[in-house]
Amino acid sequence: MTTTFEKLRAGDAIDGPAFAVSRDSIRLFCDASLDYNPLHLDDEYMKGSFGKTNFGGIIMHGMNNFGLISRMITDWAYPAGAIHRRLETRWVKPVRPGDTIQPSGIIKAKQVTEKSRWVLIDVVVKNQTGEKVATGEALVEFPRDLFCH
């Protein structure tokens, strides 16, 4: 059933894709994003502490979470003729090779403005044990001139 602005209610859920994190997936994200920070590549470097942080091994890019959340939002919005307008995220826990992460969303509020209609969505990414690894909020516009498929 196609999502419409009128039918949406606070508390409605959006399910995102599960994503298996591996050394290969992290390396692919390096190549795709051009972010070759040794945090994501260098096991020796990650054995040490830097600043106040010790991760104990390489970690996934925080922005990989961001990309997954964005994918969930656009896959949900496009069929409804809606537009992904904003995403704010914060990383809560590091993600490591072997983890499986999955974004999800909960409709938080709807707002009508002078020229358009908006939906606020609480988003979260959890790992395979249900721990939150990223949290945030998305904003999706449902224009009045919907262009649906």
Binding site: S33, D35, G51, L87
Partner: protein, 158 residues
Amino acid sequence: MAQTQAFETDFWKDANLRKVWDDIVPGEPRKTIPYTLTKEAIELYCKSVGETHPIYFDEAYAKTTRYGGLIAPPSIHILLMFSCTPADDWMRSPGTVNAGQSWSYNIPARPNDVITLQARALDKFIKRERLFVVHDNVFFNQKGDVICSGRGWTIRPM
């Protein structure tokens, strides 16, 4: 494009050229470089996060949408942040930890767009013995239209 071929993947190589937290001046523009976004770069990015929507791959389908042609996913700014900045940019300092980001999307980036970036550190502060820098960024296409704007919080290496 030449700028992609020349991309230095060893972030240690120019580490001594990059500003440390003490050197970063909030409000001062960062050096940026124009970047031509290719269909191949979009496809590689899509692969890395499992994007499969035809609006990124299927020209015939994309022509039937509100966008009238292929687009990049909104989150393509993840790539643009590194493709539009030079090797001595402090975002590449090894050990830079991303604490969170927020982005607003105006219009999509498209294949063959020549993208420019206006960027700066906006703020820096110390919290719980960690050195933070806030950066803000606006990406434009070749027509001068805003693609997206965003802000990020990084913890600087010590």
